[in-house]
Protein backbone atom coordinates (compact mmCIF):
# COMPACT_ATOMS: atom_id res chain seq x y z
CA UNK A 1 0.00 0.00 0.00
CA UNK A 2 1.42 3.33 -1.10
CA UNK A 3 0.74 5.20 2.13
CA UNK A 4 2.58 2.53 4.06
CA UNK A 5 5.59 3.00 1.78
CA UNK A 6 5.55 6.74 2.40
CA UNK A 7 5.25 6.53 6.14
CA UNK A 8 5.86 3.19 7.74
CA UNK A 9 4.36 2.24 11.05
CA UNK A 10 7.84 2.13 12.55
CA UNK A 11 8.57 5.71 11.55
CA UNK A 12 5.16 6.88 12.70
CA UNK A 13 5.43 5.25 16.09
CA UNK A 14 9.07 5.87 16.84
CA UNK A 15 9.74 9.25 15.23
CA UNK A 16 6.65 11.26 14.36
CA UNK A 17 4.15 11.05 17.19
CA UNK A 18 5.55 13.92 19.26
CA UNK A 19 5.44 16.33 16.30
CA UNK A 20 1.94 15.17 15.40
CA UNK A 21 0.71 15.62 18.94
CA UNK A 22 2.26 19.03 19.62
CA UNK A 23 1.14 20.41 16.26
CA UNK A 24 4.63 21.10 14.95
CA UNK A 25 4.42 18.56 12.11
CA UNK A 26 4.48 20.33 8.70
CA UNK A 27 1.15 20.19 6.90
CA UNK A 28 2.25 17.97 3.96
CA UNK A 29 3.70 15.42 6.37
CA UNK A 30 0.59 15.66 8.51
CA UNK A 31 -1.59 14.78 5.54
CA UNK A 32 0.55 11.71 4.80
CA UNK A 33 0.45 10.80 8.48
CA UNK A 34 -3.34 10.99 8.61
CA UNK A 35 -3.66 9.12 5.33
CA UNK A 36 -1.54 6.37 6.84
CA UNK A 37 -3.81 6.26 9.87
CA UNK A 38 -6.89 5.88 7.68
CA UNK A 39 -5.47 2.61 6.34
CA UNK A 40 -3.82 1.28 9.50
CA UNK A 41 -6.08 0.37 12.47
CA UNK A 42 -3.17 -0.85 14.65
CA UNK A 43 -1.47 2.55 14.34
CA UNK A 44 -4.77 4.20 15.31
CA UNK A 45 -4.82 2.11 18.51
CA UNK A 46 -1.20 3.06 19.12
CA UNK A 47 -1.99 6.77 18.64
CA UNK A 48 -5.07 6.56 20.87
CA UNK A 49 -3.11 4.86 23.64
CA UNK A 50 -0.43 7.55 23.30
CA UNK A 51 -3.05 10.29 23.55
CA UNK A 52 -4.71 8.51 26.49
CA UNK A 53 -1.33 8.56 28.25
CA UNK A 54 -1.16 12.33 27.79
CA UNK A 55 -4.71 12.83 29.10
CA UNK A 56 -3.96 10.65 32.11
CA UNK A 57 -0.80 12.61 32.93
CA UNK A 58 -2.59 15.96 32.72
CA UNK A 59 -4.79 14.78 35.61
CA UNK A 60 -1.70 14.65 37.82
CA UNK A 61 -0.98 18.36 38.14
CA UNK A 62 -1.26 19.22 41.84
CA UNK A 63 -4.58 21.02 42.18
CA UNK A 64 -4.11 21.91 45.81
CA UNK A 65 -1.26 24.18 46.74
CA UNK A 66 -0.56 23.99 50.50
CA UNK A 67 -2.51 26.63 52.35
CA UNK A 68 -0.41 29.66 53.28
CA UNK A 69 2.58 28.46 51.25
CA UNK A 70 3.37 32.01 50.12
CA UNK A 71 3.38 33.15 53.77
CA UNK A 72 5.59 30.20 54.74
CA UNK A 73 8.05 31.13 51.98
CA UNK A 74 8.19 34.76 53.11
CA UNK A 75 8.74 33.71 56.73
CA UNK A 76 11.44 31.20 55.73
CA UNK A 77 13.37 33.78 53.72
CA UNK A 78 13.01 36.50 56.38
CA UNK A 79 14.42 34.20 59.06
CA UNK A 80 17.50 33.40 56.99
CA UNK A 81 18.44 36.77 55.54
CA UNK A 82 20.02 39.69 57.28
CA UNK A 83 18.20 42.08 55.01
CA UNK A 84 14.59 41.13 55.58
CA UNK A 85 12.23 41.15 52.62
Amino acid sequence: MKTHDEMSCRRLILESLVEYEDGSMPEPERRVFEQHLSHCPPCVVFLKSYQATGRTLRMLKPREIPKNLAEAVMRFVRERCEKKP
Binding site: S8, C9, R10, F46, P66, L69, A70, V73, P85
Partner: protein
Amino acid sequence: MTAEQDASDVDLVRRIKRGDDEAFREMVDRYHARVYSLSYGVLHNREDAEEATQDSFLTLYRKIGTFDESKKFFSWFYRVALNAAYSRARRRRPLRTVSLDDYVPNLGGDGHALSPEFAAFVEGAEDGAVARDLAEKAEGFIAELPETYRDVIWMVDVEEMSPADVAETLEISIAALKSRLHRARLYVRQRLAAIAAPAQTGAGARRAAP
Protein backbone atom coordinates in the same frame (compact mmCIF):
# COMPACT_ATOMS: atom_id res chain seq x y z
CA MET B 1 5.60 31.96 28.59
CA THR B 2 4.67 35.21 26.87
CA ALA B 3 6.93 38.17 26.07
CA GLU B 4 4.71 40.32 28.30
CA GLN B 5 5.26 37.92 31.19
CA ASP B 6 9.04 38.00 30.58
CA ALA B 7 9.06 41.80 30.61
CA SER B 8 6.98 41.88 33.77
CA ASP B 9 9.33 39.37 35.44
CA VAL B 10 12.39 41.46 34.55
CA ASP B 11 10.73 44.54 36.00
CA LEU B 12 10.22 42.65 39.29
CA VAL B 13 13.79 41.33 39.18
CA ARG B 14 15.19 44.87 38.82
CA ARG B 15 13.10 46.07 41.74
CA ILE B 16 14.25 43.15 43.91
CA LYS B 17 17.86 43.92 43.02
CA ARG B 18 17.27 47.49 44.23
CA GLY B 19 16.01 46.10 47.55
CA ASP B 20 12.28 46.50 46.94
CA ASP B 21 10.76 44.00 49.35
CA GLU B 22 7.27 44.43 47.95
CA ALA B 23 8.61 43.23 44.59
CA PHE B 24 9.95 40.07 46.24
CA ARG B 25 6.53 39.49 47.76
CA GLU B 26 4.96 39.87 44.29
CA MET B 27 7.45 37.37 42.90
CA VAL B 28 6.49 34.86 45.61
CA ASP B 29 2.81 35.38 44.84
CA ARG B 30 3.44 34.94 41.11
CA TYR B 31 5.64 31.83 41.19
CA HIS B 32 5.10 29.87 44.41
CA ALA B 33 2.38 27.58 43.01
CA ARG B 34 4.37 26.78 39.86
CA VAL B 35 7.57 26.14 41.81
CA TYR B 36 5.69 23.92 44.25
CA SER B 37 4.17 21.92 41.40
CA LEU B 38 7.54 21.56 39.68
CA SER B 39 9.15 20.45 42.97
CA TYR B 40 6.36 17.97 43.54
CA GLY B 41 7.20 16.41 40.17
CA VAL B 42 10.69 15.63 41.44
CA LEU B 43 9.87 14.71 45.03
CA HIS B 44 6.30 13.29 44.92
CA ASN B 45 5.75 14.36 48.49
CA ARG B 46 3.88 17.44 49.73
CA GLU B 47 6.13 18.28 52.66
CA ASP B 48 9.35 17.88 50.68
CA ALA B 49 7.92 19.92 47.80
CA GLU B 50 6.94 22.69 50.21
CA GLU B 51 10.43 22.79 51.71
CA ALA B 52 12.05 22.73 48.27
CA THR B 53 9.85 25.69 47.30
CA GLN B 54 11.13 27.61 50.33
CA ASP B 55 14.72 26.70 49.40
CA SER B 56 14.12 27.94 45.85
CA PHE B 57 12.92 31.36 46.94
CA LEU B 58 15.77 31.69 49.43
CA THR B 59 18.20 31.02 46.58
CA LEU B 60 16.31 33.48 44.41
CA TYR B 61 16.62 36.16 47.09
CA ARG B 62 20.32 35.52 47.65
CA LYS B 63 21.39 35.00 44.03
CA ILE B 64 19.16 37.40 42.13
CA GLY B 65 22.22 39.59 41.54
CA THR B 66 23.72 36.86 39.34
CA PHE B 67 20.70 36.66 37.03
CA ASP B 68 21.55 37.88 33.52
CA GLU B 69 18.63 40.06 32.47
CA SER B 70 19.20 39.28 28.80
CA LYS B 71 17.95 35.74 29.56
CA LYS B 72 14.44 34.61 30.40
CA PHE B 73 13.78 34.80 34.11
CA PHE B 74 11.46 31.81 34.37
CA SER B 75 14.01 29.42 32.83
CA TRP B 76 16.69 30.62 35.27
CA PHE B 77 14.34 30.31 38.22
CA TYR B 78 12.98 26.90 37.16
CA ARG B 79 16.58 25.64 37.03
CA VAL B 80 17.05 27.01 40.55
CA ALA B 81 13.87 25.18 41.59
CA LEU B 82 14.89 21.89 39.95
CA ASN B 83 18.30 22.08 41.63
CA ALA B 84 16.66 22.72 45.00
CA ALA B 85 14.30 19.77 44.52
CA TYR B 86 17.05 17.40 43.40
CA SER B 87 19.28 18.53 46.23
CA ARG B 88 16.53 17.53 48.65
CA ALA B 89 15.85 14.29 46.74
CA ARG B 90 19.51 13.26 47.01
CA ARG B 91 19.27 13.46 50.79
CA ARG B 92 16.66 10.73 50.68
CA ARG B 93 17.34 7.16 49.69
CA PRO B 94 17.59 7.17 45.89
CA LEU B 95 14.70 5.59 44.05
CA ARG B 96 15.42 2.64 41.83
CA THR B 97 15.11 3.80 38.25
CA VAL B 98 14.38 1.74 35.17
CA SER B 99 16.24 1.28 31.90
CA LEU B 100 14.08 2.70 29.13
CA ASP B 101 15.78 0.44 26.60
CA ASP B 102 13.55 -2.30 27.98
CA TYR B 103 10.44 -0.34 27.03
CA VAL B 104 11.01 0.76 23.42
CA PRO B 105 8.26 -0.80 21.30
CA ASN B 106 9.63 -3.93 19.67
CA LEU B 107 8.45 -3.54 16.10
CA GLY B 108 9.41 -6.07 13.47
CA GLY B 109 9.39 -4.63 9.95
CA ASP B 110 5.99 -3.11 9.50
CA GLY B 111 4.60 -5.03 12.46
CA HIS B 112 2.81 -3.65 15.47
CA ALA B 113 3.69 -4.49 19.03
CA LEU B 114 0.08 -4.22 20.03
CA SER B 115 -1.66 -6.36 22.54
CA PRO B 116 -5.26 -6.32 23.83
CA GLU B 117 -4.35 -4.34 26.94
CA PHE B 118 -3.64 -1.21 24.85
CA ALA B 119 -7.23 -1.15 23.63
CA ALA B 120 -8.39 -1.80 27.20
CA PHE B 121 -6.22 1.10 28.37
CA VAL B 122 -7.69 3.48 25.78
CA GLU B 123 -11.21 2.52 26.82
CA GLY B 124 -10.41 2.65 30.54
CA ALA B 125 -8.79 6.08 30.30
CA GLU B 126 -12.11 7.49 29.10
CA ASP B 127 -13.86 6.37 32.28
CA GLY B 128 -13.50 9.03 34.96
CA ALA B 129 -13.01 6.66 37.91
CA VAL B 130 -10.59 4.39 36.04
CA ALA B 131 -8.70 7.40 34.68
CA ARG B 132 -8.17 8.72 38.20
CA ASP B 133 -6.86 5.33 39.32
CA LEU B 134 -4.53 5.25 36.34
CA ALA B 135 -3.31 8.79 37.03
CA GLU B 136 -2.37 7.82 40.58
CA LYS B 137 -0.40 4.88 39.23
CA ALA B 138 1.19 7.07 36.55
CA GLU B 139 2.75 9.27 39.21
CA GLY B 140 4.64 6.24 40.50
CA PHE B 141 5.73 5.27 37.00
CA ILE B 142 7.10 8.76 36.38
CA ALA B 143 9.04 8.52 39.64
CA GLU B 144 10.75 5.38 38.30
CA LEU B 145 12.16 7.25 35.31
CA PRO B 146 15.75 8.49 35.21
CA GLU B 147 15.97 12.20 36.12
CA THR B 148 16.46 13.50 32.60
CA TYR B 149 13.25 11.82 31.43
CA ARG B 150 11.27 12.54 34.60
CA ASP B 151 11.80 16.31 34.30
CA VAL B 152 10.74 16.40 30.67
CA ILE B 153 7.53 14.40 30.95
CA TRP B 154 6.48 16.20 34.13
CA MET B 155 7.07 19.67 32.70
CA VAL B 156 5.47 19.01 29.30
CA ASP B 157 2.67 16.55 30.04
CA VAL B 158 1.74 17.37 33.63
CA GLU B 159 2.67 21.06 33.91
CA GLU B 160 1.71 21.62 30.27
CA MET B 161 4.70 23.85 29.59
CA SER B 162 5.59 24.37 25.94
CA PRO B 163 8.41 22.16 24.59
CA ALA B 164 10.36 25.31 23.71
CA ASP B 165 10.14 26.63 27.29
CA VAL B 166 11.16 23.26 28.73
CA ALA B 167 14.10 22.94 26.34
CA GLU B 168 15.27 26.41 27.33
CA THR B 169 14.90 25.66 31.04
CA LEU B 170 16.82 22.40 30.78
CA GLU B 171 19.34 23.92 28.33
CA ILE B 172 18.87 21.15 25.77
CA SER B 173 17.85 21.19 22.10
CA ILE B 174 14.21 20.79 21.06
CA ALA B 175 15.21 17.57 19.28
CA ALA B 176 16.75 16.15 22.46
CA LEU B 177 13.70 17.20 24.44
CA LYS B 178 11.30 15.49 22.03
CA SER B 179 13.36 12.33 22.00
CA ARG B 180 13.34 12.14 25.81
CA LEU B 181 9.66 13.03 25.97
CA HIS B 182 8.72 10.32 23.50
CA ARG B 183 10.68 7.61 25.31
CA ALA B 184 9.25 8.64 28.66
CA ARG B 185 5.70 8.61 27.26
CA LEU B 186 6.20 5.16 25.74
CA TYR B 187 7.40 3.86 29.10
CA VAL B 188 4.45 5.29 31.03
CA ARG B 189 2.02 4.16 28.32
CA GLN B 190 3.29 0.62 28.46
CA ARG B 191 3.15 0.50 32.26
CA LEU B 192 -0.37 1.96 32.30
CA ALA B 193 -1.58 -0.47 29.65
CA ALA B 194 -0.23 -3.39 31.67
CA ILE B 195 -2.51 -2.49 34.59
CA ALA B 196 -5.47 -1.26 32.53
CA ALA B 197 -7.32 -4.53 32.19
CA PRO B 198 -7.71 -5.19 35.95
CA ALA B 199 -8.55 -1.51 36.53
CA GLN B 200 -11.24 -1.68 33.89
CA THR B 201 -12.68 -4.83 35.42
CA GLY B 202 -12.89 -2.97 38.71
CA ALA B 203 -14.77 -0.06 37.13
CA GLY B 204 -17.17 -2.44 35.47
CA ALA B 205 -17.83 -4.10 38.79
CA ARG B 206 -18.47 -0.67 40.37
CA ARG B 207 -20.87 0.32 37.63
CA ALA B 208 -22.73 -3.00 37.98
CA ALA B 209 -23.12 -2.54 41.71
CA PRO B 210 -26.59 -1.50 42.89
